[in-house]
């Protein structure tokens, strides 16, 4: 229900654009740990520099009060050495990450702004490069460049470029093909400016997350290279060389490897926590609460009667902000009746339907005085099986509500086999009969087809067939024809009308177009800003005079109407002016 999502977004003031930042425990912890590492990196060499490299102490000590982490073979304090080594290790990892991210991101973006041939070639080249393990590439490059700090940093940077390029190319793919980039390029904005103005800012969040992860990786890789003797050379040292030195003594004096091992784990954990924290903060759904539907304390104002659906006082509020999105909406739908709800986006029409179907979005809370479907109280616990068999749903875009990787027969009969426990064979027969009812050509063949093999109108018919396969008492159709052309729209509306007539299923039909609604519905509710502003009972006599609310009049006037000139047409010219 696109409208539901939109309403949630608007209420949370966090649409697809820049979002409000959400702090979380992992991110705060990670940043705190990184701050500790940064402080150590800055001050340890100044304060403990002498102690870390000064000779003359007792060699190979275990844990003592003066040397809690022991001393190395030359009698130097391992705690001091570990802390002092922080600067060199972190700096190397940071520079390697910076080099690989800048190069990788540049390549990833450039590929998508390049002509098609170069792009294809570039993408294949990246895929090829990614298929080699990072560490292997780093070792090979370092072996070619020789030993030393600079060589190791360059080797790690080169090894990580492919990964960055691959991920940024994927991110850039979506942005580079978006309409705002296409428009900018058509206007003559040079590629370099498109990259800086449009592509880079719109992929900032995932890129930051990626960089945090890459830093953690680089830290381990650099220590790894130093560990095998390719990195920092004596007298310089980093965590990797400390680990290497300690390894020789691991049997006699195991305490000496604790320092570098803990430091390495601590720092890379900090970077990973920051990365995951940023990812969680960037995801608007990570902090929302589950939807709630509760019974209003006030007594119901609508009697049960023999209506299929009794909705009395539906109110929906946004959990966090408390904003009321739907307020006190009441209606009933009789057996075999088609009720329309009309209103603009954000009017609450889809939210109302989502309450009825018990499909309210996360972060929303709803209440009602009475909500009963065919004798079942929807405000209490309802077995999913019961709900699945009583309500059928059709959505706006048949293209996105179908799984592209599954054949229609399997996915459209899922509700029958899984929820209603019909056998495969019975489900298939049932779906086939519904396919025939919605006038799908070659129904048997359609069962074996994938969604992309059907046109938009055929997909929507298949959706209607699937929704009707449980013989529901209520069919909820949320803007089922908005994504379709006018000619296809008429076909789908006709099918809906026929299904209603033949099986007597009541329909709740939601649309923004009064012209569409008037063709199908017995009664119509007009919604605006979460309230019902007008109830139209006489659809046949619908005109600007018969409605009272100014908004209804406005909707009526807005419906596009073909006006046929009354004068007899003159002889046709050949299509030119």
């Amino acid at each position: 229900m696109a409208d539901t999502v939109n309403a949630v977004r608007t209420a949370a003031a966090s649409p697809a654009g820049p979002r409000s930042f959400r702090w979380n425990a992992g991110l705060i912890l990670g940043l705190g740990m990184l701050a500790v590492v940064a402080l150590v990196a800055i001050f340890a060499p100044i304060v403990l520099g002498g102690q870390a490299s000064g000779l003359g102490g007792t060699p190979n000590l275990g844990s003592t009060p003066e040397h809690p982490l022991g001393t190395d073979t030359l009698g130097r304090d391992m705690l001091a050495r570990t802390l002092v080594a922080t600067r060199a290790t972190v700096l190397m990892a940071a520079i390697a990450t910076a080099l690989s991210s800048i190069t990788g991101i540049a390549i990833g973006i450039a590929i998508w702004l390049a002509p098609r041939r170069i792009r294809e070639l570039g993408l294949r080249a990246i895929e090829f490069a990614v298929s080699y393990p990072t560490m292997l590439v780093a070792i090979i490059v370092a072996a070619i460049l020789g030993q030393g700090v600079v060589q190791v940093v360059v080797a790690i940077a080169i090894a990580n470029v492919a990964g960055f390029a691959r991920l940024t190319a994927n991110l850039a793919a979506k942005i580079a093909t978006s309409e705002y980039v296409t428009t900018a390029r058509l206007m003559g904005v040079p590629a370099s400016r498109v990259a800086a103005r449009h592509v880079l800012p719109n992929m900032a969040e995932p890129t930051l997350i990626l960089i945090a992860g890459a830093f953690s990786g680089a830290l381990v890789e650099i220590s790894g290279l130093s560990f095998i003797g390719l990195g920092a050379q004596t007298p310089a040292f980093d965590w990797g060389t400390l680990l290497n030195d300690g390894l020789n003594k691991i049997v006699v004096n195991p305490i000496v490897i604790v320092g570098p091992a803990v430091a390495l784990t601590f720092t890379s954990l900090a970077a990973l926590l920051v990365g995951d924290g940023l990812a969680a903060a960037a995801n608007p759904r990570s902090n929302s609460t589950q939807a709630r539907l509760v019974r209003d304390k006030a007594a119901p104002t609508i009697e049960r009667g023999d209506a299929v659906l009794v909705a009395d006082g539906i109110t929906v509020a946004h959990g966090a902000s408390g904003a009321t999105l739907v307020s006190d909406v009441s209606f009933t739908i009789g057996r075999g009746e088609v009720l329309g709800i009309v209103g603009e986006s954000g009017s609450g029409k889809s939210l109302t339907a989502s309450v009825v179907a018990k499909l309210l979005g996360e972060g929303l809370s709803a209440s009602a005085r009475r909500l009963e479907l065919d004798g079942v109280d929807l405000l209490g616990p309802v077995p999913p099986r019961e709900l699945a068999s009583k309500i059928g749903l059709i959505y706006q875009d048949p293209g996105t509500s179908l799984n592209p990787a599954m054949v229609l027969g399997r996915q459209l009969s899922e509700v029958l086999t899984l929820r209603l426990r019909h056998s495969r064979r019975a489900s298939r027969e049932l779906l086939l009969s519904k396919f025939r009812q919605v006038m799908l050509s070659d129904p048997e063949g359609r069962l074996r087809q994938y969604p992309h093999q059907l046109s938009g109108g055929m997909k929507q018919r298949a959706m209607i067939a699937s929704a009707m396969s449980t013989d529901p008492v209520l069919l909820i159709a949320d803007e089922p024809t908005t994504a379709l052309d006018v000619t296809v729209q008429r076909e789908v509306l006709t099918v809906l009308g026929r299904m209603n007539e033949e099986s007597g299923t009541a329909v709740l039909f939601i649309s923004h177009d009064l012209g569409v609604v008037r063709a199908l519905c017995d009664r119509v509710l007009v919604m605006k800003d979460g309230k019902i502003v007008e109830r139209i009972d006489d659809m046949a006599g619908l005109s600007a005079e018969s409605v009272s609310h100014p908004y209804t009049k406005q909707l009526l006037a807005a419906t596009p109407v073909v006006t046929l000139p009354t004068a007899a047409p003159t002889a046709r010219t050949e299509g030119e002016s």
């Binding site: 649409p15 697809a16 654009g17 820049p18 978006s178 309409e179 705002y180 296409t182 428009t183 900018a184 058509l186 206007m187 003559g188 904005v189 040079p190 400016r193 103005r197 449009h198 800012p201 719109n202 900032a204 603009e344 986006s345 954000g346 938009g456 052309d485 006018v486 000619t487 296809v488 729209q489 008429r490 509306l493 006709t494 009308g497 923004h512 177009d513 009064l514 012209g515 569409v516 063709a519 406005q554 909707l555 006037a557 807005a558 419906t559 596009p560 109407v561 073909v562 006006t563 046929l564 000139p565 004068a567 007899a568 047409p569 046709r572 010219t573 050949e574 299509g575 030119e576 002016s577």
Partner: protein, 257 residues
Amino acid sequence: MTDLMLDVRGLDVTFGSTTVLHGVDVTLAKGRTVGVVGESGSGKSTLAKVLVGSVRPSAGHVDVDGVDLVNHEHTSMRRYRRRVQMIPQDPYSSLSPRRTIGQTLAEAINPIRSRVSDHRDLIASWLERVGLTPDMMHRYPHEFSGGQRQRIAIARGLIIDPDFVIADEITSALDVSVQAQILELLAEIKESLGITMMFISHNLAVVQRVSDEVLVLYQGRVVEAGPVEEIYANPQHWYTRRLLDADPGSPGFSLAG
């Protein structure tokens, strides 16, 4: 024929082995608006892409305001592209979420430097012209509704004073009430600026509100073309009649079809 904006004859477009447009003829005088109608897959968006220069014709003659689009030089295309503007369909994906409205419009005016402060007055006057207020130039796209975004997209298309504007399904993502406001705005701008426009839609009723002429495309061929009054009063082709009858606002509309 210097008063012709569009002179397209026998235009064919093929992608691989599929032919999307077959021998399309369009002529449009300056200052007029042609509505292009057809269902999805009829080739109407491809026609627009040919006219903005992003799809190359396979055959035929395409002349837009004196520029030959079949045999053109690469360098002349850059200048041409600023004379012809396309207003895109989806107001949600056509504005960069990280750029303010002012920055987006400044980029249209000057693609290279794109500084809001250089063009403040022009941006403010266009925001007012499309029914927004000048202080909105500092806001980001997510702060606007779909209809407001489409107004901004219209301002972006028209702010550089193009000779020819193509509006590709610009109201199909909008509610009917918002659609009516956007159509009114377009009709008003057309009246006051005398622009030449191609208006693409699948809805004949929408096309009628802004167009002087109409062109009906069906499976890549022009099946009917002429002045709006004539086509609507006396459709010759069965497909045009079917389109007319399918419109919920049309007198011939009924569900028994």
